[in-house]
């Protein structure tokens, strides 16, 4: 059944969308800052995975932790060097800071790697499996599975652990959190680190079956925006739900209308959601 195949494929990619988008929604919810370079973080992680393989013959077992740690560090660095200073200022400064960073990363990569795209071997993780009549690449299955687990994990961390409560407290009321001994600065840096790590893992996962190019961040950032708005401001479960939805929508659009139109549908859906239900699926009105 081709249709079931398309849907399954879309769900698996959508799970990865959910993973890096939940990092974005965490940052947004915690300090009302949107990372316009989020997709470019994913792009960097994709190249980490690529070079891990081509230079070190290392598969996802190495590249996932490597990218996670690297992008965690980048996220925290960006927070300390940039975000902390523009957070309380005018909106123009906030938005332009991460947007400028996005351009910088994107075109530095473009200059370093040229416009050509590269890919990792399709069977790096394993062969294409036949599950219940559906032919699915092992790489996609791994990506989707890991992504869902980690997104759920992030939600559990936020809602069930002490650390998570501290982060949510800062998101809720920064000054009140200080009064009970929480250090907002640390929690916010941690949020950026986690956001970065989510892009790191997502990027290393996508690299297994997607094309890797310097400008891929542009579309991925937009996808993250759509997922976060559709899911609801600051909601990780919302991002999970929305990510899966967007993945399926994208896949079905490509199948029915052609690959050129898949972005048109997703962006169009975004604008419709803004008109009809801006709080998203799981946000409060």
């Amino acid at each position: 059944m081709i249709l079931a195949q398309v849907v399954a494929s879309g769900l698996l990619l959508g799970a990865v969308y959910a993973l890096f988008s939940s990092g974005l929604t965490l940052i947004w919810g915690m300090m009302n800052v949107v990372n316009f370079a989020h997709g470019d973080f994913v792009m960097l992680a994709m190249y980490v995975a690529f070079f891990a393989w081509t230079l070190g013959h290392a598969g996802p077992a190495m590249s996932l932790p490597l990218a996670a740690i690297g992008l965690f560090g980048l996220g925290a660095l960006v927070y300390f060097a940039l975000i902390r200073h523009v957070m309380r200022g005018p909106m123009l400064a906030q938005i332009l800071s991460t947007f400028g960073l996005a351009l910088l990363l994107r075109y530095a990569a473009f200059w370093a790697f040229s416009a050509n795209f590269v890919t990792l071997p399709g069977d790096l993780v394993g062969p294409t499996l036949d599950i219940g009549g559906l032919r699915l690449q092992s790489s996609r299955l791994l990506a989707g599975g890991v992504a869902i687990l980690l997104t759920i994990g992030m939600h559990l961390m936020l809602t069930r652990t002490m650390l998570g409560s501290r982060m949510l407290a800062v998101a809720e009321d920064r000054s009140a959190a200080t009064l009970v001994g929480i250090r907002p600065d640390r929690m916010q840096a941690l949020a950026w680190g986690l956001g970065g790590a989510s892009t790191g893992i997502a990027g290393a996962l996508i690299a297994l079956f997607y094309y890797i190019s310097p400008t891929v961040g542009e579309a991925l950032t937009l996808i993250a925006f759509v997922v976060v708005c559709l899911g609801g401001f600051g909601s990780v479960p919302g991002a999970l739900l929305a990510g899966l939805l967007i993945g399926v929508t994208e896949a079905l659009s490509a199948y029915w209308l052609g690959p050129v139109y898949q972005d048109v549908v997703v962006y169009g859906l975004f604008l419709v959601v803004l008109w009809v239900r801006p709080q998203g699926l799981l946000g409060t009105a």
Binding site: L82, Y107, P214
Partner: protein
């Protein structure tokens, strides 16, 4: 005390009128015309991005609407391209309404995200629609049929047309700054809740700025189509078109009258020069530099160069 700025203004106006004739070099005149065209777009962006504080990174959608409307009116109806400018304005106003109305009630990020998405959406759509030129684009008149086609060999007429349009736009902006709309925009930027408590309608105020901004950006797009005689999705609807408008306004000083012009005067010649030296934007180095400039402005001096200048003036007066 007000005389000094007026004298400086008159000097600036006189210089800009006389300069191209003195310079008498086609290349420089052409760069001058491009500077003015860029200044028109950036000053139009400034209305919503600078004065209203709503950061659009998808303004190419309005620029492209202007350019495409002009060229379509030529290819489909045989009109002189400039006659298509009002159509471009009308389309832009509609698009502005569709983008602004849902997002202006929400946090500022939603508007910014929506502008990027809308511009990309339109760019991809135009690429796929053959009657709009598809990926190849549209062309203007190959040979001028009358003066109305505004097809000149020399850059000089374009320079003066653009100068006139820029003067009108800046004059309108100056009047707006001093009007109720101007103060309401600053109030909305300064604190929406407080502004509302004083009777300021946040949505109508932001929309007014966006509609004005969209209209003039569309006019800039039409002027571009008239001068260059060609438009395709990447050259008029691509994200880099939007980025240039933003960076010029931000570098010079977003929310100031002459900031965008200053930014254009600095960046347009700079881009021409780097394209020569580094071999075109194909290498991406230009945009690395743009990204770095935007980042530095945002981090250290969101008010742009004019803010540094005004602060110096204030310190001297104190």
């Amino acid at each position: 005390m007000r005389r000094a700025p007026i004298a400086a203004l008159l000097l600036l106006a006189a210089a800009s009128i006389v300069w191209p004739m003195l310079v008498d070099n086609v290349f420089y005149q052409r760069v001058g015309a491009l500077v003015l065209l860029a200044a028109i777009s950036a000053s139009a962006w400034n209305l919503i991005g600078g004065y209203a504080g709503q950061v659009s990174i998808g303004h190419a959608i309005f620029f492209g609407a202007g350019a495409y409307s002009s060229l379509l009116c030529f290819t489909d109806f045989g009109w002189p391209p400039i006659a298509g400018a009002p159509v471009g304005v009308a389309v832009s106003l509609l698009l502005a309404f569709l983008i602004g109305t849902p997002t202006f009630r929400l946090r500022g990020h939603y508007f910014s995200m929506a502008t990027i998405a809308a511009a990309e959406l339109v760019r991809i759509l135009v690429t796929t629609i053959k009657p709009l030129g598809g990926g190849v684009g549209l062309m203007g008149p190959a040979t001028p049929r009358s003066v109305a086609d505004l097809s000149f060999r020399s850059p000089l007429p374009y320079y003066y047309i653009f100068l006139g349009v820029l003067a009108v736009l800046l004059g309108l902006t100056w009047a707006m700054e001093r009007s109720r709309l101007g103060y309401y925009l600053r109030a909305v930027s300064g604190g929406e809740r407080a502004a509302q408590s004083l009777g300021v309608g946040v949505l109508p105020t932001k929309l007014a700025a966006l509609l004005l901004s969209a209209a003039f950006t569309a006019i800039a797009g039409s002027l571009y189509a008239v001068m260059v005689g060609f438009a395709d999705p990447n050259s008029v609807l691509g994200i880099l078109v939007s980025v240039k408008m933003v960076i010029m306004a931000a570098l010079g000083g977003a929310g100031t009258l002459f900031g965008p012009l200053l930014g254009a005067v600095i960046l347009v010649p700079l881009e021409e020069w780097t394209n020569d030296v580094f071999g075109g934007s194909g290498t991406g180095i230009t945009y690395v530099i743009y990204g770095a400039i935007i980042l530095l402005i945002a981090r250290f001096q969101p008010g742009g160069l004019l803010a540094i200048w005004y602060r110096r003036q204030a310190r001297r007066a104190a």
